[in-house]
């Protein structure tokens, strides 16, 4: 049994708690202890990527302080793990704080995206999930090209009972989210989203999944606007789903009103 610190990410905490709850349930079901360090807020990626490394510094410092005591940190997001691995030490060095940079590198070395943790650390691909839906998987840019998670999510999905995994055409193309890119270059972002939605719809899947709630918020927001009848669901929710406890069913009333990741208006 491992003791796992959940790095929830600010987006999942605030808007997509069902993805974080699913991560907790999945890891507990696999026999591990999950703890939630309550001092965590945001990794600072939005600040770094929008050009505010000075503002990000205090968030990097907080993240490192909060997670330094733990041996294993797991997040349901490739993008936020990517920021921890590839940006935190750079932000610290840019501010001349070499000590923070080396502490950030130590935390980064113990931080895993969910599919990495399951496949590489725990060595499992069959997690005992049941999800009777036609599903297509969008490899988010940061899972594909920053973390190089490769086929780990697909291997996990293929082992889910009842799940019909269909390949997404031109899967490796960006959905157009890009954080504040979606606001600053909303037209270009929308053009990219239009093509991504076209490919999702072409699969005939009723669910589009991914390892990042942010990209799913983007794709799901577009599909919802078109009333396309396709949901977006985080990978963790599918892996947490079982016959006894299917995804999307309120359990204990805790996140009863939480919709699937795409949402409605």
């Amino acid at each position: 049994m491992m003791r796992v610190a959940l790095f929830v990410t600010c987006l999942a905490d605030t808007l997509f708690p069902q993805a974080a709850v699913a991560t907790v349930r999945l890891l507990e079901r696999l026999g591990h202890e999950v703890v939630f360090p309550e001092g965590q807020t945001c990794c600072g990626q939005m600040h770094v990527n929008t050009g505010y490394p000075d503002d990000a510094l205090r968030l990097v410092r907080r993240h490192v302080r909060v997670f330094a005591p733990y041996d294993v940190v797991v997040a349901p997001s490739a993008s936020c793990v990517g920021s921890v691995r590839h940006q935190h030490a750079t932000v610290a060095r840019g501010a001349g704080d070499e000590r923070l940079a080396s502490r950030a590198e130590a935390v980064a070395a113990r931080t895993y995206e969910l599919s990495e943790f399951l496949v590489d650390v725990l060595g499992v691909t069959e997690v005992g999930a049941y999800y009777p839906h036609r599903v297509t998987y969008h490899p988010t840019c940061h899972s594909l090209r920053m973390l190089r998670v490769g086929d780990r999510p697909s291997r996990l999905l293929r082992a889910v009972r009842g799940l019909d995994l269909v390949e997404l055409p031109q899967a490796e193309q960006c959905c157009g989210f890009g954080g504040t890119f979606a606001l600053k270059n909303a037209d270009t972002s929308t053009a990219m989203l239009a093509d991504k939605m076209r490919h999702v719809l072409a699969t005939g899947a009723d669910v589009c999944t991914a390892g990042d709630a942010s990209c799913l918020m983007h794709i799901g927001g577009g599909l919802s606007r078109l009333r396309a009848g396709v949901r977006t669901v985080h990978l963790a929710e599918i892996l947490a789903s079982t016959e006894a406890d299917p995804a999307g069913t309120p359990v204990g009333g805790a996140v009863a009103a939480a919709p699937t990741t795409g949402g409605t208006r």
């Binding site: 600010c10 905490d13 605030t14 808007l15 997509f16 708690p17 709850v21 907790v24 309550e38 001092g39 945001c42 600072g44 939005m46 600040h47 770094v48 990527n49 929008t50 050009g51 505010y52 503002d55 205090r58 968030l59 907080r62 940006q87 840019g94 840019c141 594909l144 090209r145 920053m146 490796e172 157009g176 890009g178 954080g179 890119f181 979606a182 606001l183 600053k184 270059n185 909303a186 037209d187 270009t188 053009a191 990219m192 989203l193 983007h218 799901g220 927001g221 577009g222 606007r225 204990g252 805790a254 996140v255 009863a256 009103a257 919709p259 990741t261 795409g262 949402g263 409605t264 208006r265």
Partner: protein, 475 residues
């Protein structure tokens, strides 16, 4: 250099050349995105080049090692650029060439114009070159009464169409063959009115148009892909043979070259001549690779001038993160894989250097204030970094430049407030609850700018009944 620098090196001067757009990227992109023909032309062309390039790269077992070697050679070159340039100057001079140093576009244009005048010519033939587009050489020559004739097919299309290049390798990528036929019928003297839009017919029309010009023009202007410091050898890599004619037929050859194009040794070409064609055109070997060293009596141009151009490159070199942009070998692989470029095309970037590499190079050459929107013209998807044959970490440079870009005051205030809130968990939790209540009241319609950019085309997620941390506290 003709100037002695004190402090930071100068950036490229305004009002000359083509490094600055007339409007910010989002506005230019918005117009481009609504051009359905452009979208179709670009989508088709980039997908074709992408698959061709991927196929021939897949044949090379040591591609990762070649990329690493390319990066290592460029890193070494930048670390001792002044010494290598002086070595190049000595070697070119010893081989009978003349080397000129141009601090910026104004100096380079003046040097070339004076050389053309001194040769008594009123027309020059040109090999496709990015650097002469960068400095606006054609406009400078025309102002001096010299006619520049572009001999690369795509550059000719751009020139006859009174257009601007939109791609580093395929300047007329935004045009399809029907549009090219129309341009030729309108602007090519003596063209057959029965011209069809068959690619072979269009190429033949251009060939007939250019042949007499090749034979009767005494001065040529080229750029350079590489210059070997060790030997003084210049190299131009092209695929039509027009370059070979320009480099061999005239009496006088003038080559304008960015100072970052130097490589230390002849052996280094082995690496780049493998990387470049596979990454750029998707060819195993480049069709026409012309190399020359100074002047050879009785063979080829009898006068050779090399103009070494800075135009902001020393300023790029001064930035430890940004200097990687100088490693670029202009293959345009990053353009072909970029989801932003594929949809907006090159003109939206304003500069002759479009796409991901342009988004990091142009703002550094001009100073970030003049191209402040370009580092944001990317979703940071990382496809460019994977495609780059010399492993330029373009996403990291984009993020670095965003940190140096001027920020809107309201955005800066909001970002600082957000960071402060997120650094205080109690405030953060209160803000989460407030955001949820606000959403419940407003349902996400008609958000104020910049958030309206989201709701224009996407719904907002329905707010959950509680945040994760509330769930955790209550479980």
């Amino acid at each position: 250099m003709t100037r002695s620098f004190l402090g930071m090196p100068a950036t490229a001067p305004p009002d000359v050349g083509h490094l600055r757009g007339a409007e910010p990227f989002p506005a230019a992109a918005r117009r481009a995105l609504s051009d359905a023909q452009l979208r179709r032309n670009l989508g088709h062309a980039t997908a074709t080049i992408r698959s061709r390039s991927a196929a021939v790269i897949g044949e090379v077992p040591d591609w990762p090692q070649l990329r690493a070697a390319g990066r290592a050679i460029k890193t070494d070159t930048m670390a001792r650029l002044p010494e290598l340039l002086e070595q190049l100057e000595a070697a070119v001079t010893a081989a009978g060439g003349t080397v000129h140093w141009a601090a910026d576009a104004v100096e380079a244009n003046r040097i070339v114009t004076d050389l053309v005048r001194a040769a008594g010519a009123d027309r020059v033939i040109k090999v496709k070159s990015m650097v002469t587009q960068e400095i606006g050489l054609n406009e400078a020559l025309e102002a001096a009464g010299v006619e520049p004739v572009e001999t690369d097919l795509a550059e000719l299309i751009v020139q006859l169409g009174d257009d601007r290049p939109s791609h580093i390798l395929v300047p007329a990528i935004h045009r399809n063959r029907a549009e090219i036929r129309e341009i030729f019928l309108r602007a090519m003297p003596g063209v057959d009115p029965a011209l069809t839009d068959e690619p072979a017919a269009l190429a033949a029309a251009a060939r007939r148009h250019l042949r007499q010009t090749f034979l009767s023009t005494r001065v040529a202007v080229s750029g350079a892909n590489f210059a070997v410091a060790e030997t003084g050898t210049l190299a131009v890599v092209e695929s039509e043979g027009n370059g070979r004619m320009c480099l061999t037929l005239p009496e006088t050859l003038i080559t304008v070259m960015g100072i970052e194009k130097v490589v230390p040794t002849w052996r280094d070409l082995e690496v780049f001549l493998q990387l470049l064609p596979r990454a750029s055109t998707g060819e195993r070997m480049n069709p026409y690779t012309s190399m020359w060293t100074g002047v050879t009596p009785g063979d080829g141009p009898q006068a050779f001038h090399l103009v070494l151009l800075d135009n902001g490159r020393s300023a790029v070199l001064a930035d430890p993160v940004g200097r990687q942009a100088l490693h670029c070998i202009r293959c345009s692989a990053c353009l072909n894989v970029c989801p932003v470029y594929e949809r907006t095309g090159g003109h939206a970037y304003g500069s002759v250097y479009p796409g991901p590499i342009g988004a990091v190079l142009s703002p550094q050459l001009t100073g970030i204030e003049d191209n402040a929107s370009l580092p944001y013209a990317s979703s940071l998807c990382g496809a460019c970094y994977d495609a780059c044959p010399v492993m330029i970490d373009i996403p990291s440079i984009l993020v670095h430049l965003r940190g140096r870009a001027p920020h809107p005051r309201a955005e800066a205030t909001a970002m600082a407030a957000a960071a402060y809130t997120m650094d205080h968990p109690a405030l953060y939790a209160a803000a989460q609850r407030a955001a949820r209540l606000g959403r419940l009241a407003g349902r996400g319609h008609g958000l104020p700018p910049p958030l309206s950019g989201w709701t224009a085309s996407r719904d907002l997620p329905q707010p959950p009944s509680r945040t994760f941390r509330q769930w955790w506290a209550e479980r």
